[in-house]
Point group: C3
Chain length 256, copies 3
Amino acid sequence: VVPAVISLLTDFGDADYYVGAVKGTLARLAPGAAILDISHEVPPGNVTAGAFLLAAAAPAFPAGSVHLAVVDPGVGSERKILAARWRGSWLVAPDNGLLSGFFPEAEARSVERNDLFLSGPGATFHGRDRFAPVAGYLARGESWQELGPRLERPVVLSAPPPTRDARGLTGRVVHVDRFGNLVTDLPAGWLEDRPFVLEIAGHRAERLVGHFQQLGDGEAGILPGSLGTLEVVMNRESVAARWSLAAGATVRVFFR
Amino acid sequence: VVPAVISLLTDFGDADYYVGAVKGTLARLAPGAAILDISHEVPPGNVTAGAFLLAAAAPAFPAGSVHLAVVDPGVGSERKILAARWRGSWLVAPDNGLLSGFFPEAEARSVERNDLFLSGPGATFHGRDRFAPVAGYLARGESWQELGPRLERPVVLSAPPPTRDARGLTGRVVHVDRFGNLVTDLPAGWLEDRPFVLEIAGHRAERLVGHFQQLGDGEAGILPGSLGTLEVVMNRESVAARWSLAAGATVRVFFR
Amino acid sequence: VVPAVISLLTDFGDADYYVGAVKGTLARLAPGAAILDISHEVPPGNVTAGAFLLAAAAPAFPAGSVHLAVVDPGVGSERKILAARWRGSWLVAPDNGLLSGFFPEAEARSVERNDLFLSGPGATFHGRDRFAPVAGYLARGESWQELGPRLERPVVLSAPPPTRDARGLTGRVVHVDRFGNLVTDLPAGWLEDRPFVLEIAGHRAERLVGHFQQLGDGEAGILPGSLGTLEVVMNRESVAARWSLAAGATVRVFFR
């Protein structure tokens, strides 16, 4: 039997004790599970950034994985704890939009199982005291249905969807990656087979490329990215730094 | 049989080869053990910071775990190598105070087993050449007693204990966490059921809260923290940054 | 049966989704394998730095390990994908010099197995879509020979070898470690039993020590390092910061 896989995504940082306490709890409550870090460097409290990373990484994992995600500025308040079923895998997270990328496809339950929770000191480390025990429970193969009632309307972050018309496309930068590439929400398939110019904050890119080395020094290009959306990139240079851009910037494509 | 768990805490950083060499050695000497990172971002040589993180994270792990901790500015000198038994688990570390949080409860032995040590090049990578082999030995289930003689007085970092009297409490900030919360050494149970004011470096907090969202913008509050001690916090803001504070600051609580 | 070990070294950073997607793919394609991070903090696109770290960490791992290394600024171009056999272990990486430390000892094949590759969106995430599937294939114990034809001349980074003559030694700083120590390429055994002075960029060190605490405050010393080469170090201080040095600096040792 292959052991369960538990992935971790948090804003706890790699320099604190929080990640260790969560892993220790998982090792205790789901002995033998494989615990795999996605990232703990989500900016503190940035649910939007965490939601992006989780939605981007989770599809690669095997069915049956448990994805434990904690970016939880409302910890200790009345926000619910979610356990969601998605394509044969499980997602455990606060009900604050962190799972936005999985709804409405995923089915959510509100975890109401005080018997599973740990009574650690304080009320502000649900990663250790509540989320990890729920993830461990699911990793042990126990029943999702018994975690609590169905939740019909989990919190979903509202984001304006990208739009298209005969003249062009409008979207946003949804992520700046480690290399300074600008990941947009514009589906790569929306680019039509005719000339275009892409504009972000007064900067322009006009060349569609398949990989980075097709670009000259300091030239910006558009690339069909690894999430199926368009990316604005430079070769061996951060276009985000060159253009002083961050997630959230508006992207427009004009067909010509 | 569930494989052994080995946790890692070092000041090797996440950008160097040292962590990889330690993990490789553990995978070689304790095949099948689950290797779980606590953190490798302890500030270089900061034994006090490492001791705090290890004591905070270790209690979450299952009995039988091996905690390998290396923050070792005295590497290669005559400082001893400790293997300690603590609540059914094991601790392996230099004898420099890194295990302060576990004594006197833990029992220590001075590892004197040159036969276990690896003869890697140099005398300055005991993480790879000495600590990892000892941790691997314990993870394989071999005898702790045979590692060396009992050590009655392991090095323990001296820290002034928090104090209380009828007028109030005095303690210290022992950790600034990833969110900028000030973790103190004042037991949460020492707060009495009457008004108080907490002071740190001329700054004040007067409100006891259970979680962050009970605080207004820029308001500092006192929270019973996840280690059983009082924390000074703000909601979605770093109070450490706002007040320019670091670990070591004196905290006073005045009852009124 | 002990599960396969897969080590990971990339320049994907610890704050992005790329590492998670690679781990998820490995967990899916090589169920049960132990996935161990070496580092993901190789500076973006820095093949030389990645090659150093991999060559330094890999020897510690057990025979049979699969080392998956991705620092790949040429992703999507015509550069080959390597699968190399080295001392009973496997190396999977782009053919761009990242495996320089292993040749000519290692034997390389050019992976030409489109049937193994995943058709993820885009052409720029070979870590997820090509390298991870090849690493998973090898971790499952499948045939290296069938991955593709032998590659007689894999790309190897050219670096001037260190030299020695009767008057002294000449080499380079090849790595600045987390503690600011200057790791050189000068074999420790080249130091002769007579007085010497080491010079880097106008700075000098004359004392050979076995460990850090033998040095006085601010004193630079020479240490036989953990990779078998000479290191220039200070005690509890970064000599790289003190002398404003980075990898690449020329090191000269003059015998007297």
